[in-house]
């Protein structure tokens, strides 16, 4: 059966050019970038070139880029590193209710085990937090604000430039998890006053297991893991050379195609949203109607349950996801969907459709043909009025 992949927010297929570059690194070089002889210098040059490419894409200086094992590690380094480094300044952390678990759970851990004072800001019904809300949450002892750029479940974009200005004026370190947006939307650290930015290669057709943290020059950040002192001591551990090369190539390709490709994906996204609304009138669009990721359409279908939707679509040949993962048989509905103020039963019927480079109009139309009878069938079983 022809499979249609509509879960690009979960991960993207590796671009063939990325895979080729990584294969060459794995087969043709083996040096440790820390070694001074020729093999080591070759590896170092590859890592440095990738650093240049990531820096160029963000408008950053290469010295401001630190490679990590992915988005989760970048988020952990940003939050833990800032909190540790700024202990003398204060203990307050401000974040939002719809952050990825890599941020939210790290912030809670800092509160539980290290006595951080944590403020988790609510969002409006579209999943947005305002710069004014952030400003009100700041006090003299706030050291860190972490607000994601684009939400992975509902696609909502946050006003990070405004939030960054508020933080800069108060001397508060500002971190944004931009894992869903870098590669898809312009991100210029010259225009956005942000101190720390998390980046993840596999969200823009690079390999899994490699990411980066942008650290603005002068930002105080403590080391979180100890060891050999790589990445100028900021992220110790022998570099994942092939992965880093893959990240660099993926970033360059994403930059080259970003404008045209994001516009194309946004048209597919809008076709999905309009089509779903036309065929399933009581579908609830989750996230912001306009301020959203170009590839993300997300909904709740009252009277259905997310896992049953995902399995039904899987049987019909579509790979999609739901916030109600139901992984333990005792799963709470997604913290993101419930933060929008939807009741629990409605939040259970969440579905996320995220298009990508390989998605065609025919794929979207096939989904639009398959989904309505699935929703109708599940509703006929649950008998929750449609």
């Amino acid at each position: 059966m022809k499979r249609v992949y509509l879960d690009h927010a979960a991960t993207t297929p590796v671009d063939p050019e990325v895979a080729e570059a990584m294969t060459r690194v794995l087969t043709e070089t083996h040096g440790n970038p820390s070694s001074v002889y020729a093999e080591g210098r070759t590896a170092r040059a590859l890592v440095d070139r990738a650093r240049d490419e990531v820096a160029a894409a963000l408008g950053a200086d290469p010295s401001e880029i630190v490679f990590t094992s992915g988005g989760t590690e970048a988020d952990n380094l940003a939050l833990r590193g800032t909190f540790l480094a700024r202990k003398a300044d204060g203990d307050g952390i401000v974040t939002t209710a719809i952050e990825h678990h890599a941020v939210l759970d790290t912030a809670h851990d800092l509160a539980d085990r290290h006595r951080a004072r944590l403020a988790v800001l609510p969002v409006d019904r579209h999943g947005r937090v305002s710069a004014a809300d952030v400003e009100r949450a700041l006090d003299a002892r706030t050291v860190l604000v972490s607000v994601m750029h684009g939400n992975n479940e509902i696609g909502t974009l946050q006003p990070i430039a405004e939030i960054g200005r508020v933080c800069a004026a108060r001397g508060v370190t500002f971190h944004t998890d931009a894992v869903q947006t870098v590669g898809a939307l312009p991100f210029d650290v010259g225009a956005i006053p942000v101190d720390l930015v998390s980046v993840n290669a596999h969200k823009f057709y690079g390999p899994k297991g490699v990411g980066a943290l942008y650290i603005r020059k002068g930002t105080r950040l403590a080391t979180v893991q100890t060891g050999g002192g790589q990445e100028r001591g900021r992220r110790t551990g022998t570099e994942n050379v092939a992965g880093i090369v893959g990240l660099g190539v993926a970033m360059r390709l994403a930059q080259a195609h970003r404008e045209a490709e994001s516009a194309r994906q946004a048209r597919l996204r809008d076709r999905l949203i309009e089509g779903v609304r036309a065929h399933i009138p009581d579908a609830i669009l989750t996230g912001h109607p306009t301020e959203r990721l170009p590839n993300s359409a997300s909904f709740c279908f009252p009277g259905t349950q997310g896992e049953a939707l995902v399995v039904s679509l899987d049987l019909a040949g579509f790979a999609v996801s739901s916030g109600s993962a139901c992984t333990s048989g005792s799963t709470e509905p997604s913290h993101v969907i419930t933060a929008l103020g939807l009741d629990r039963a409605t939040a259970q019927g969440s579905l996320r459709l995220t298009v990508g480079r390989g998605t065609t109009e025919a794929d979207v139309d096939a989904l639009l043909a398959a989904l309505p009878p699935i929703v109708a069938r599940l509703r006929s079983i649950s008998a929750v009025p449609a």
């Binding site: 297929p13 049953a308 399995v311 039904s312 333990s328 048989g329 005792s330 799963t331 039963a345 390989g358």
Partner: protein
Amino acid sequence: MTGEGGPRAAEEYSAACIDHFTQPRNVGAVEAADGKGSDANPSCGDRTTITLRVSEGRVAEVRFRTFGCTAAIASASALTELASGQRIGDAQRLGPADVLRALGGLPQRKEACALMAVGALRAALLDAQVKA
């Protein structure tokens, strides 16, 4: 974007389970039911309601409605099939192990779904006995 087949979300379930999920038996509500019972899984919000009609000490008709996941729907479907035509006492003894056997097993973390179906059936049977 197209890709290869490979293990999918649906494939963690047995063929019997997918069959009950895609073509559930006895969906709906029995009219003028003798017994009605519900059970819910408070941790995930799933709910099953079972209605039944009793005739000469046997389950003459039994139907279910489920708001829930694949396993919850398949469990209720399989259980109503097992309960149909049974003497009330035998139907009351149906347990999660019987549901799991009929479904060819469930992923371990989904076994609570079988329990929910059983809870709804037992409540419906009890309701019928109280009313009788």
